[in-house]
């Protein structure tokens, strides 16, 4: 049992003395902390989503037939968001090109893709559905987008579907007269990948052979055809150097004279602009909240100090030194700020977790939200707490000074 009174008990007693007003102050601090914390949390989560997206946007190069102008899926004005799959095209080349690419130093992975067709499948998607064939054994661009990793590579008769395509995992969908089992669903990409069905290359050839799938005006798809080969460089390799090597390997071969190598020239501009707008808005709101809250809290602190003049006089008559009175007022504000900060962070964390679980953050931010790691959440919470405690101490500086300078005799003689 404590033998002496401690400051914390006294400060909490002071706070409990005016519960209504102090709750309002705590609410102010909580609001600021929640604002700061959720701002950081959303930014970090969105950035995490982007980072995850970067790892998903695996290809560094795209090898395509030279005939067609390539537009990369999801591209903004620079056509360069990422290479997950090539733009639908009926220009094809033979998959044997993979053997050639495989000999190029600096290439760590390569995977072919085949665009089959774009179909109106209203039962599956409001937008036309693109059908792509991929090699599940070598694919490194589509698989990372899966909401849940597959236990095994895609088996015959299985498909992966974009975010917009209807159907749960393990249910069956029909494309033409073929039926497939959904093995996995992809996270939202904000691109036409969202309404794409990916199936195995052999299934793609089989589907392409089905009547009504490939338009009669398009060249027939024959086994071994591919539209593009997606290439990932080895870690540490210079993208341009590897790209040049790939081009050079084709230049000496008449079979691949009409093949182009496109580098990623990777930027995240379109997404980044959206994401950057969010922190800017949140920072603006936070700044506004702080600007409004600081004088409000300062005013409350002045009121508190004024109301407690007699109490402060009493403390001084008991032997409280100026600096003790000064720090008591500051600490009381800090305790209120800490309570408010913890409450604000706690509530916002709970709400954000809940929103994330419901997928609300994904749709609100229009990116794949990635929960920040615990350590990062901890530092964000710490920062929010530091900021509100900073506000609390700044707001109470003047009343603390006034209280410390108060003459105890004058204070005691006030009517209570």
């Amino acid at each position: 049992m404590r033998q002496k009174m401690d400051y914390f008990t006294f400060i909490v007693a002071g706070i409990r003395n005016k519960p209504g007003r102090n709750l309002a102050t705590i609410f102010c601090f909580a609001f600021i902390a929640a604002n700061i914390f959720s701002g950081q949390f959303l930014i970090a989560g969105a950035a995490g989503g982007i980072d995850r997206g970067v790892t998903r946007m695996g290809a560094d190069h795209l090898v395509v037939p030279s005939q067609y102008m390539v537009f990369l899926r999801g591209a903004g004005p620079d056509n360069t968001i990422a290479i997950v799959m090539a733009e639908p095209s009926n220009y094809r080349m033979k998959a044997t090109i993979l053997e050639k690419i495989g000999t190029v130093p600096g290439v760590s992975a390569m995977s072919p893709q085949l665009y089959v067709s774009t179909l109106n499948l209203p039962e599956l998607s409001p937008a036309p559905v693109d059908i792509y064939g991929i090699d599940p054994e070598t694919d490194f661009t589509v698989r990372p987008w899966l909401q849940k990793p597959l236990d095994n590579p895609l088996k015959p008769g299985e498909v992966m579907v974009g975010h917009v395509v209807s159907g749960e995992v393990s249910t069956r969908i029909s494309v033409g007269d073929q039926t497939y089992t959904i093995a996995g669903r992809l996270d939202p990409t904000r691109s036409s990948i969202d309404h794409t069905i990916f199936l195995r290359l052999d299934d793609a050839y089989a589907l392409a052979a089905t009547k009504g799938i490939v338009p009669p005006s398009s060249p027939r798809i024959t086994p071994g055809d591919v539209n593009a080969v997606l290439i990932r460089d080895s870690t540490g390799e210079d993208q341009d150097v590897v790209g040049t090597r790939i081009k050079r390997s084709f230049s000496s071969s008449p079979d691949y004279k009409y093949v182009s190598v496109i580098g990623r020239h990777f930027t995240l501009d379109p997404v980044a602009e959206d994401i950057q707008a969010i922190p800017a808005l949140l920072s603006l709101i936070s700044a506004f909240v702080v600007i409004i809250a600081l004088p409000l809290i300062a005013l409350i602190a002045v009121m508190v100090a004024h109301e407690r003049q007699r109490e402060i006089g009493l403390l001084k008559s008991m032997g409280a030194k100026r600096k003790i009175v000064f720090f008591l007022v500051i600490f009381e504000s800090l305790v209120l700020a800490a309570f408010g900060g913890i409450a604000g962070v706690g509530v916002s964390l709970f709400v954000l977790f809940l929103m994330n679980a419901q997928g609300v953050l994904n749709s609100a931010l229009q990116v794949s939200f990635h929960m920040p790691p615990l350590m990062e959440i901890g530092s964000m919470a710490g920062l929010a707490l530091l900021v509100v405690m900073g506000i609390g101490s700044v707001a109470s500086l003047w009343p603390a000074y006034q209280s410390s300078m108060m003459n105890p005799y004058d204070a005691i003689r006030l009517d209570w």
Partner: protein, 240 residues
Amino acid sequence: MIESKGVTKSFSTTSSDVLAVNDVNLEVKPGEFVLILGRSGSGKSTLLAMLAGLISPTAGVVRIHGTEIGNLSEDKTAEMRAKEIGFVFQFSGLIPTITALENVMLPTLFCPDGPGSRSRAVELLRKVGLSERADAYPGTLSSGEMKRVAIARALINGPPILIADEPTGDLDVDTEIEIMELFKALNREGTTIVMVTHNPDLTPYATRIYGMVKGKLVTNPESFCFRTWKAEPGTPVDTD
């Protein structure tokens, strides 16, 4: 123990200067129970505040244990208040959100190396007859009980001097007697008490009595009338 020499205090107002205390010479010896009687506005509370180092005199000196408090720094004066002086005011000044026991322990915050402790607080509450109410909150205590808690609080750091500013001013007669009996007991145990009051009925409890009239300390209390407050210092006794 407490000594004032030529202590004067004047306050400036917008219209004029008010002489609250005028050239007061007082010496309180250890173990005394000094009662200063005076009507409202006579300057007795101001004198008490100067004796305790809460305010500085305009002129004159105050010494406690031979130390001139006017020469002490703000912090040293605060230390002296924490260790040497216990205050009891007309208002009890208890913190409503902590228990009676915690209220008694409150001054230990400012005198960490003093004798004040929880066990001493319990003992003091027992001494003031409130051992059963140690865990009670001030809101549940009567005026007399609150005053007794305030007295226990004033004594927690073991001060040799107890200064009381109209401690019974707002109490009924029975409670007033209880409190005064308590003061008397404390004085018998060695606590030096300086108390101001406007109630002449309390004089029997004191070992020395002074009067305060218009800022002047009157050394012969028989020389003025407490009932009518008409007399000036030095006038013949006119008791009714």
